[in-house]
Symmetry: C2
């Protein structure tokens, strides 16, 4: 058994973990070549593990260490395992990964919430559905049906949001340059979240961003393909 | 006399260089602590220097070396002067700066063009006005008056475009972390272009992005303040 456990998020089907932040952590561990056991949890099960260490996943248990938050986990992994391939390639890469995270959280995540919120609700068990409805209502001030009201418009508007990635791909194959870094996993996590939960098609076949996303799905033994598209 | 010359861009007033890309190069040279003479040129004067080396500025002449393009200049400076403060802080920082550039070019620049295009035109001499009108018409398929048609809407929509920077500033003082890197100068260049050419107010006084911009204006002997706001 692996000495490492990654607590992640799922609905009734434990084989379909979907959290964007947990996918970032999954690819980060795979990038470092570290063995781990993934334990997908229902939303309402999170406070019950590791003595309520965190209200959110991912949570990484690595021997005696306990780390939460995907960015913190990536920083921890690079510090704890400096001889394994870096997730940041230097201090500049670390600082700018925070900008990539901020871009993804403010530009991609709000759109994907609107696109996928009803699909995510469908994936949950009864207790989680109640929690999900109530917590979204508290956060957005809207029912999940209201959040999803302009879903088709959001899908149509989505490709334009990826324009910064598209332009960058004219220079290099990954955000990290010739090879992926944590910054790639940040954006991958958002799109994988959409892929696993929703049937919405977010880019055209010939879109360079789709080609980059397919390359990311192939990484580390095609880890991202271990869960099929919705 | 400095052995380095930076060719940049101006209108009739040589004391008001305004190109975003040239400002990136100015702060990059200042970041490295390198002396240089700035030679602001009219658009139509660019092909006449350095035997028509480049159709665009910035152009850096450093002894026998001739380099064009702001990103190439930053890469050149870090390679030629590895012992002076780095503009990228490692390979990860270099790769992700390209994403920052792609974000700025696709999200900020098109908006600033619409906001400032008539102001820029006003700054030019007759020959440059004709060149400017014709080249914008060829590129955008619109007259400069048409480009500026929704100027007020663009100004109102601008602060939201800075949201990725705003969120990142909750974690750190600069894109580069505790101190600025070339990635900061990329975004600074866009906002300085707006500041020098246009009276449009692009953020509220209490906006953390304005505070970051003011910090950038103060850098390297307040180089950015050597030209006053429009």
């Amino acid at each position: 058994m692996a000495s490492r456990t990654l607590y992640s998020l799922c609905g009734t089907d434990q084989a379909r973990p979907f959290s964007p932040h947990c996918w970032k952590a999954v690819l980060s561990l795979a990038h470092k070549g570290l063995d781990f056991e993934e334990r997908p949890l229902a939303f309402t099960a999170i406070p019950g593990v590791e003595n309520g260490f965190s209200k959110t996943v991912p949570i990484l248990r690595d021997g005696d260490e306990l780390v939460k938050d995907s960015f913190e986990i990536a920083l921890y992994l690079d510090e704890a395992y400096p001889d394994l391939p870096s997730l940041f390639n230097g201090e500049g890469g670390k600082a700018l990964a925070r900008f990539v995270e901020s871009w993804s959280q403010t530009q991609l995540h709000p759109a994907i919430v609107k696109i996928a919120v009803l699909d995510i609700h469908e994936m949950l068990d009864e207790a989680d559905r109640t929690y999900f409805r109530d917590s979204r209502k508290a956060f957005f001030g809207k029912t999940i049906e209201e959040i999803a009201a302009n879903r088709e418009d959001e899908i149509a508007a989505f490709p334009a949001k990826l324009e910064p990635i598209r332009r960058m791909l004219g220079y290099q194959s990954f955000l990290g340059g010739d090879a992926p870094l944590f910054a790639d996993y940040i954006v991958f996590g958002a799109l994988q979240w959409a892929r696993v939960t929703s049937k919405a098609d977010l880019f055209k076949p010939e879109d360079p961003v789709r080609q980059w996303f397919e390359r990311c799905l192939d990484l580390h033994g095609a880890k991202g393909r271990s869960v099929t598209a919705a």
